[in-house]
C-alpha cells in the first residue's frame, strides 16, 4: 500500500511539479503537429503526473481526485472520440479522412484540426488507461490472494 511520503521536501516538490507536468503534457499534445510529441506521449505524461501524486501524497488524496470507473469511461470516451472523428468524414467520403469534418475550415485545415481531435482522444485513452492499471496494481488491500 502506498503511504504519504515522510519528507516535506518531497511533498512540496511534487505539489509544485504536478501542475507543471500537466501543463507540459498539454504542450506536448498541441505541439505534436510541429515537433516530436503528440497524443500518445502527452497521455503518458498526464497519467504519470497523477501517479507521481499517488507515490508522494499517498493513497487518500489520490482517491479523492481520481475515480477508477470515471477513468475507464474517459478511456472509452477517447477511443470513441477517435472513432467519431473518423466517422464524421465517412458520409460521402472515406473513413478517417478528416477533410470532410463539419468545421468552418478548408479541407487542409480540417485535416489539421482532425489530427488534433484524434490526438486528444488518444491522449485521454492512454492517460486514463495508465491510471487505471496503476490503481489496480497498487491496490494491495483488495488483493484476491490475501
Amino acid at each position: 500500500m502506498i503511504e504519504r511520503h515522510d519528507s516535506l521536501v518531497v511533498i512540496t516538490f511534487v505539489r509544485v511539479l504536478m501542475p507543471l507536468v500537466q501543463l507540459f503534457a498539454l504542450y506536448v499534445l498541441a505541439y505534436g503537429h510541429y515537433g516530436p510529441g503528440g497524443g500518445f506521449q502527452a497521455g503518458v505524461i498526464l497519467g504519470a503526473s497523477y501517479i507521481l501524486m499517488a507515490l508522494a501524497l499517498g493513497r487518500e488524496p489520490f482517491e479523492r481526485r481520481v475515480n477508477e470507473t470515471a477513468c475507464l469511461a474517459i478511456a472509452a470516451g477517447g477511443v470513441l472520440l477517435y472513432l467519431l472523428t473518423g466517422l464524421a468524414g465517412f458520409a460521402g467520403g472515406t473513413l478517417l479522412d478528416y477533410a470532410r469534418l463539419p468545421l468552418p475550415a478548408s479541407a487542409v485545415k480540417a485535416r489539421y484540426y482532425g489530427i488534433l481531435l484524434i490526438e486528444t482522444g488518444v491522449a485521454a485513452a492512454v492517460a486514463a488507461t495508465l491510471i487505471v492499471l496503476f490503481c489496480r496494481l497498487a491496490d494491495t488491500e483488495h488483493h484476491p490472494d490475501r
Binding site: 501517479i51 477508477e68 477517435y82 478528416y98 490526438e119 495508465l130 496503476f134 496494481l137 494491495t140
Partner: protein, 175 residues
C-alpha cells in the same frame, strides 16, 4: 567522435540488460530496466528518430517502470531461480533466436539509405505532401494520425482493451 559515443551507448545497453537479468533483487532489475529505456531513447535520438525517442523515454523509462514497481507491491522482491534443466533450454532458445536475428540483419537496408525500398515507396509522397495536404510540418504526426489513421485507431483500441483487461483481472473482490 560520434561513432565512439554511439558505440558506448550500445555497450551501455548490453551492460544494463545483463545487470537487469542477473539482479537477484527485482527492485534493482526494474530500476535498471528504466535506465535501459533511457539509454535506448538516447540511441533513438542519435539516429534521428526523435518521436520514437520521446515515446521510449516516457513509456520505456517512465510508465513501464512505474507499472513494474506497482506490480512488485503485489509480489515479492526476490526472484525464484529457474530449475537447472529449464535454464539450459532458455539459454539455448535465446542463443538460437539471437543467431537467426543477427544473421538476417545483413539483409536490412543500411541506416539512412535513401535508395532503400521503404524509402523509395510511399515515404517521399508523405514527406513532400504533408504540409500541402494536412498543414502539419511534422510528417511523423501526419502519417500516424492521418495517412495511417487506421493503424493508430486500432492501437488506441488495443491500449483501451489492455486497460480494461487489466482492470477486470485485478478487480476488487469485495463480498
Amino acid at each position: 567522435m560520434s561513432e565512439i559515443i554511439f558505440a558506448m551507448l550500445l555497450a551501455l545497453l548490453v551492460v544494463l540488460a545483463l545487470v537487469a537479468i542477473r539482479a537477484g533483487d527485482l527492485l534493482v532489475a526494474v530500476i535498471v530496466l528504466g535506465a535501459y529505456g533511457f539509454a535506448m531513447s538516447l540511441v533513438w535520438t542519435a539516429i534521428g528518430a526523435v518521436d520514437v525517442a520521446f515515446t521510449e523515454a516516457v513509456v520505456g523509462a517512465g510508465a513501464s517502470t512505474v507499472l513494474f514497481l506497482a506490480a512488485l507491491l503485489r509480489t515479492s522482491r526476490r526472484r525464484s531461480p529457474l530449475p537447472g534443466r529449464l535454464r539450459w533450454a532458455a539459454l539455448g532458445s535465446v542463443l538460437a533466436v539471437g543467431a537467426v536475428l543477427l544473421s538476417v540483419t545483413t539483409a536490412l537496408p543500411r541506416w539512412g539509405d535513401h535508395d532503400a525500398a521503404p524509402a523509395r515507396h510511399v515515404s517521399p509522397r508523405y514527406i513532400t505532401a504533408t504540409v500541402a495536404e494536412t498543414a502539419t510540418p511534422n510528417a511523423v504526426t501526419s502519417v500516424l494520425a492521418d495517412y495511417r489513421g487506421y493503424d493508430t485507431l486500432i492501437e488506441t483500441v488495443v491500449i483501451f482493451s489492455a486497460g480494461l483487461g487489466g482492470w477486470l483481472l485485478l478487480a476488487r473482490r469485495d463480498p
